[in-house]
């Protein structure tokens, strides 16, 4: 039974594309056949995060307009053989793809893949409506920040209006020290406002930036806390019951090191 997931957020910069890349790689590492579809036409990034930019021949707009078959546009990941990317166009805009076209495409791709993950653009306009049209599960990514939570709430409302009732939440870029000091919204507050099933709490991690620039998702790094959090999310998506990571407190030695680093 194949699943179609859409990763969305409303607000920009909360980590939709990063989440898409990591969940995609994670599911592929477990042996699933996975396709990632970038619907952020005009502002595509997913290919960069996967390090696949130089391998793109055709794009989503070529496929939906009927110029080529979708199989020709798929880019296979260099390391994970059952992970494919369907990139979008960097020159067209969001109006180039409409919801019906994406639904037709996903129906066709469903036969081949275990998971289809759609990376949604920011905003609630046409691009968003196109991206969510085919999905049966929506994963809303947010950050512990009032504007991101407010937008996530709006998005959950919009998903409800589009009859997408299967909504899950990932809270990204949590900084445990700030939460502890009360400078950042904590999980309790976010859960209470959004009241949807939370499947992941990802700590803020410098390794994410490193990984992004290298084109290798952070989930492949063994020493990264964010990578571990993404592995847990993938496990939860596969139906396993994994407890949430305990927020890592900065230990005495770490603080000492920082102090010396400053001096």
């Amino acid at each position: 039974m194949s699943q179609i997931l859409v990763i969305t957020s409303g607000k920009g910069g909360v980590g939709k594309t990063t989440t898409t890349a990591n969940i995609g790689v994670g599911l592929a590492m477990r042996g699933n056949k996975v396709a990632l579809i970038d619907t952020d036409t005009g502002l595509r990034n997913l290919d960069l995060l996967l390090g696949l930019e130089n391998r793109i021949l055709y794009d989503l707009v070529d496929v939906t307009s009927g110029r080529v078959a979708y199989k020709k546009a798929l880019v296979r990941h260099k390391k994970y053989e059952n992970l494919y990317l369907l990139p979008t166009s960097q020159v067209k805009d969001k109006s180039a793809v409409n919801p019906e076209q994406l639904v037709t495409l996903c129906d066709e791709m469903k036969k081949e893949f275990d998971f289809i993950i759609i990376d949604c653009p920011a905003g609630i306009e046409q691009g968003f409506k196109t991206a969510i049209a085919a999905a049966d599960t929506a994963i809303v990514v947010t950050m512990p920040e009032i504007s991101a939570v407010r937008d996530a709430d709006k998005i959950i409302g919009e998903l409800g209006r589009a009859d997408k009732e299967n909504v899950k939440l990932i809270v990204n870029r949590i900084r445990p020290q700030m939460v502890e000091k009360g400078d950042m919204l904590d999980m309790g507050d976010i859960d209470e406002i959004l009241s949807v099933v939370c499947i992941g709490q990802v700590p803020d991690d410098e390794n994410v930036v490193v990984a992004t620039n290298r084109g290798e998702p952070v989930i492949t790094m063994s020493n990264s806390t964010a990578g571990q959090a993404y592995k847990n999310i993938v496990a939860r998506l596969c139906g396993e019951n994994v407890p949430f990571l305990k927020p890592q407190k900065e230990g005495f030695f770490a603080r000492l090191k920082k102090l010396f680093g400053l001096l």
């Binding site: 009032i146 407010r150 709430d153 709006k154 409302g157 919009e158 209470e192 406002i193």
Partner: protein, 213 residues
Amino acid sequence: MSDIVTIKGLKYGLQLTFAKGASFDDVQANLLEKLQSGNGFFIRGTTVFVPKGYFAEEQNEALRRMFHRHGMLFSTELKRPNLAPSSRDINKAPAQKFKESVEEAQKMMVINRTVRGGQEVKANCSVLICGNVNPGAQVIAGGSIDIRGTCRGFVHAGAFGDKTACVVADRLMPAQIRIADLVARAPDEDIKASQAERAMIKDNMIIFEPVAR
């Protein structure tokens, strides 16, 4: 001699019936005479009903113009016109009007979900929400508002001026609350409500008081 035109008072206006065999010209002359005599029947704004099909279309048109000149509405359909309230409506005793508005306010709309940011609930009556009212959401009710959950949005009870309306919530911490024509806003520092509260008007101020639920 029986009158050429008989006038009968109806719920929403005046019904005209005509003597058998009276010609249109007779009817028109008779009506004009009555209109000019100012006998108290023809109050400005009243709707006058003439049975549909009794006169030809152009004759109806002539009557319509004549009534219009005297500030009245003309209709061939026996129903309440929605153009303007009839004089009976305007003259209705205030008590009757008040009773209607109270009845309206006593009805209730039930919302069985969380009202999320950007969503809006509007009702002439009271509203019961089984769920939260999230930040950025709006609830506007003619009557009272009862929230079985946390209220963080914008609420307006008694939107038509009912000062007896109230807002109740398990945890009442709205960004802004309005009751009738009064406005109050949340304090700038974060305060967490720990128990159910009711907001209402007392001494022309919105006050919060704890309630047991």
